[in-house]
């Protein structure tokens, strides 16, 4: 189906179902209950899940297949974002030109960075990409302020040219849209105490994510993908056979740069604002964490990792001591305070600590990431399936 093997096709269908049903799946707790704190089914976070999913899928094409660890991928995300916001300011608030241009600009930029950085491999490559990313960040933050808006970033303004759009209605603000469908518009559906939000922007991003995911499966299964795996397993041997690996690695680098640009463009389409921090080195590090947490070299892993990290960043960080006290209010006073003091360092501003602990646990006990965890559970329950366990992109890291 669609040029995919049955197994890959099933995975694609599964991902499609999960993304389409996300407003239900992420909102399992009724409004007003104590557990509603853990609901993640609101537009902003759902959009972030799929956008960072795209970012991580792209990163995985480079890191998972060729083994080149780029520490500067956030630069491409940022460049894509700036390109997209300028399209919105100059051309139209329609998201299509913004997204297309963001991919192209990020592709050109990654070609330039990759051309230079790929002269080295291993740690030197990582440091080179990191240097480029930090350079882009510093430029965007200060020197290029006229283009990037510096610290305050860029947003669409009422008096931007927008040559393709008609004049705004009196008192209106420019809003990102897809041929008139506003990205921020949602339909809410209340069932009992549950409230499900179907957001236009989310579904646009989700469809783009599915396309990106499909493309990544095709790349993984193509001869080109096989060449990239060969680069990872032994580049020297590849060279001795008379093959030049550079065009392959450069192509992988540019493709993954374009994925990052696509994610950047989508971020602007969903939330029309760009700031230079998007290119800071911690943002580059984050995508590395996402890939490793989910499972490097697997198809679905990076998406899971992106989801896990964004969930913690947005949900755990918002639990404050007040909320803890209401949760444990049933305990006697002294015990309540004790339990709250015990948990407090791990929530709110301490969410980084929780993330760090989980990351360590995954790396130590599940070297294959969350995907490996899923496989172990599946193996525990699915006794019969043992015989069909053939190695492929989904079940084994691409070594």
């Amino acid at each position: 189906m669609l040029g995919l093997e049955a197994k890959d096709f099933r995975l694609l269908i599964l991902v499609a179902i999960l993304t389409m049903a996300a407003p239900f799946l992420l909102n399992p707790f009724p409004e007003g209950s104590g557990l509603a704190q853990f609901n993640a089914g609101y537009p902003d976070l759902m959009q972030r899940f799929v956008i960072f999913g795209i970012f991580a899928i792209g990163f995985n094409i480079l890191f998972g297949l060729t083994g080149y660890l780029s520490f500067g991928h956030a630069a491409f995300l940022g460049v894509g974002s700036y390109a997209a916001i300028w399209m919105m300011k100059l051309l139209t608030m329609n998201v299509i030109p913004a997204i297309i241009v963001s991919v192209i600009v990020a592709g050109i930029f990654s070609l330039a960075v990759g051309w230079i950085s790929l002269r080295r491999s291993g740690i030197y490559f990582s440091i080179l990409t990191l240097a480029f990313a930090q350079m882009s960040y510093s430029l965007a933050y200060s020197v290029l302020t006229p283009i990037t808006g510096g610290e305050t970033g860029l947003q669409p303004k009422v008096n931007d040219p927008r040559i393709l759009d008609g004049a705004l209605t009196e008192g209106g603000t420019p809003k990102a849209n897809l041929f008139g469908l506003e990205m921020g518009s949602s339909i809410e559906w209340g069932v009992g105490n549950w409230l499900f939000t179907f957001n236009a922007g989310y579904y646009v991003a989700a469809i783009v994510m599915l396309a990106a995911f499909y493309l990544s499966i095709r790349i993984f299964r193509s001869p080109f993908g096989m060449m990239l795996r060969a680069v990872k397993s032994n580049q020297q041997r590849l060279n001795y056979t008379g093959l030049n690996a550079k065009p392959y690695t450069l192509a992988a680098f540019v493709i993954s740069g374009m994925y990052a640009g696509l994610a950047g463009g989508l971020m602007v389409a969903m939330d029309t604002q760009v700031g230079a921090e998007r290119m800071f080195w911690t943002a580059s590090g984050e995508v590395v964490l996402m890939s490793i947490l989910g499972g490097v070299g697997t198809l679905i892993g990076p998406v899971l990792g992106a989801g896990a990290i964004k969930y913690m960043e947005n949900i755990l960080s918002k639990i404050n001591s007040d909320i803890l006290h209401t949760w444990f209010a049933f305990l006697p006073d002294g015990l309540e305070d004790f339990v709250v003091t015990l948990i407090y360092p791990f929530i709110g501003k301490g969410w980084h600590l929780t993330l760090g602990l989980i990351f360590m646990a995954v790396v130590i006990f599940l070297p294959g990431g969350l995907v490996e965890g899923g496989q172990r559970i599946a193996r525990l329950f699915g006794r019969k399936k043992k015989s069909t366990d053939t190695p492929d992109g989904k079940t084994t890291p691409a070594e």
Binding site: E31, S33, G153, N193, E277, N314
Partner: protein
């Protein structure tokens, strides 16, 4: 067998959840009919406190959060009422806002515009916050203000000093109580002229980002107006920690005043370097070499230690002020937390109170009604003397404090002394000079 167990548990969970859900009032479906985003329909109203809990301004953020918690306590009738007793408007009753109990959600801006917007969006979309407030950087303030304008909620800016927030990036749904770079310059210049003479040569070191630019511009313009000459203005990277290489050329330039347009850790480091280089002991052009820091905060003064002694700067508010409002605020903050509040805490507390008061006076949470109530609102008793919320740019106009590092501090908190309270008339400017478009208020849904 296992299937049985699972389904029974499922039934129990669903039952319990449904029961819990039924017992609580459902408030969401009505939200879209009230004519504005997140209209509170139950017995509570949710405010969003979006402050930096991690990153370079985490100290300020922590103090802001303390102030907000205090404000919520006072609004709900707890504590000693704080500034509600001295506030010139008596609309607040201590029974919440419009009779609805005030609840709040918190978020971490990480001092990054992206993170700040994500956190603000989750407050609006998930928690149903009807107002967002806080922040400790102009970049974040501008980003969140634009978001609130789009979403149709009110934004009450926290600590943000750049002219842009209510200048070129102003928005109809955003309001700022804190003062700005222009006011710092206008307040400082006369004091500098009186103390250091009107024929000085100034050398600027400026943090290389928006706030640095606007501050340099403001101080430059106002000091040049009193006869000073600007010898050079050098930009320093924001991430710089060692400023020695920037300090050395200052002496060769023939300048006799160094202006440090730095904030936070930058200022602590550059000032320490400058003092260590012995700049303040030098005689240039037969005058004592002087250093000026346009924006001061107590937390910065603490970081720079003894180096701040005798150095002029400006600040929005200081806990040693002796008016009724300031005394009441220091009293109730000190009682609750055991130390005096910072200027960040003060501006955030006041912003929360002003919002609540505006809602009471407007009789509605509708952002447009609230904005109307805040525009051209004159008030007193909040610690800054008579204050005006100007309608043209949603900026507060009030007295500005010129402060000086204290020579003999008596405690960790007693680091700054007030040199002069510059009257409002001297720091008022025309609303159009920074450009920008206020637009019209957006009530959202």
């Amino acid at each position: 067998m296992s299937k049985m167990t699972l389904s029974r548990r499922g039934v129990l969970t669903t039952g319990a959840a449904a029961g819990a859900g039924l017992a609580l009032p459902t408030y969401l479906p009505a939200a879209s009919h009230a004519g504005f985003t997140n209209a509170p329909t139950g017995s509570t109203v949710t405010l969003g406190f979006n402050v930096p809990q991690t990153g370079p301004y985490a100290d300020e953020g922590a103090d802001e959060l303390r102030a907000y918690e205090l404000a919520v306590e006072h609004l709900n009738g707890g504590g000693d009422g704080g500034l509600m007793n001295t506030f010139s408007s008596k609309a607040l009753q201590g029974n919440g806002i419009l009779g609805k109990k005030v609840e709040y959600v918190t978020g971490d801006t990480q001092t990054k515009s992206d993170a700040a917007r994500a956190s603000a969006r989750s407050m609006i979309e998930k928690d149903g916050a009807v107002m967002i407030t806080g922040g400790s950087s102009s970049g974040v303030a501008v980003a969140v203000q634009a978001l609130c304008q789009e979403a149709g909620v009110i934004f009450m800016a926290g600590l943000t000093h750049s002219n842009d927030t209510t200048g070129k990036d102003k928005k109809a749904n955003g309001f700022r109580h804190f003062f700005n770079s222009y006011m710092s310059g206008a307040a400082l210049a006369p004091i500098l002229g009186a103390n250091y003479g009107t024929d000085r040569k100034a050398y600027h070191l400026t943090a290389d980002y928006n706030w640095g630019y606007t501050t340099e511009e403001a101080v430059r313009t106002s000091t040049e107006a009193i006869g000073w000459e600007t010898v050079a203005a050098v930009k320093t990277p924001l991430t710089q920690t060692d400023f020695s290489s920037y300090i050395a050329p200052v002496l060769q330039s023939g300048a006799d005043v160094l202006v440090l347009n730095h904030y936070g850790g930058n200022m602590v480091n550059s000032l320490t370097n400058a003092v260590q280089f012995g700049l303040r002991d030098k005689l240039v052009n037969n005058k004592n070499f002087e250093i000026v820091v346009p924006l001061y905060s107590r937390l910065m003064a603490k970081g720079a230690g003894a180096n701040v002694k005798g150095i002029f700067g400006s600040t929005n508010w200081h806990w040693s002020l002796q008016d009724e409002g300031s005394k009441a605020f220091v009293q109730s903050f000190g009682t609750k937390y055991g130390f005096p509040p910072s200027q960040a805490a003060h501006t955030c507390y006041v912003q929360a109170m002003l919002y609540a008061d505006a809602v009471e006076r407007a009789g509605s949470f509708n952002p447009c009604a609230v904005a109307e109530a805040l525009e051209d609102f004159e008030f007193d008793g909040m610690g800054n003397g008579p204050t005006l919320y100007r309608a043209e740019d949603h900026q507060c106009f009030k007295d500005v404090l010129v402060v000086k590092g204290k020579e003999n501090p008596t405690s960790d908190f007693d680091l700054l002394e007030i040199v002069e309270v510059t009257p409002t008339s001297q720091v008022t400017y025309d609303a159009s000079i920074f450009g920008g478009e206020l637009g019209t208020c957006n009530p959202g849904a």
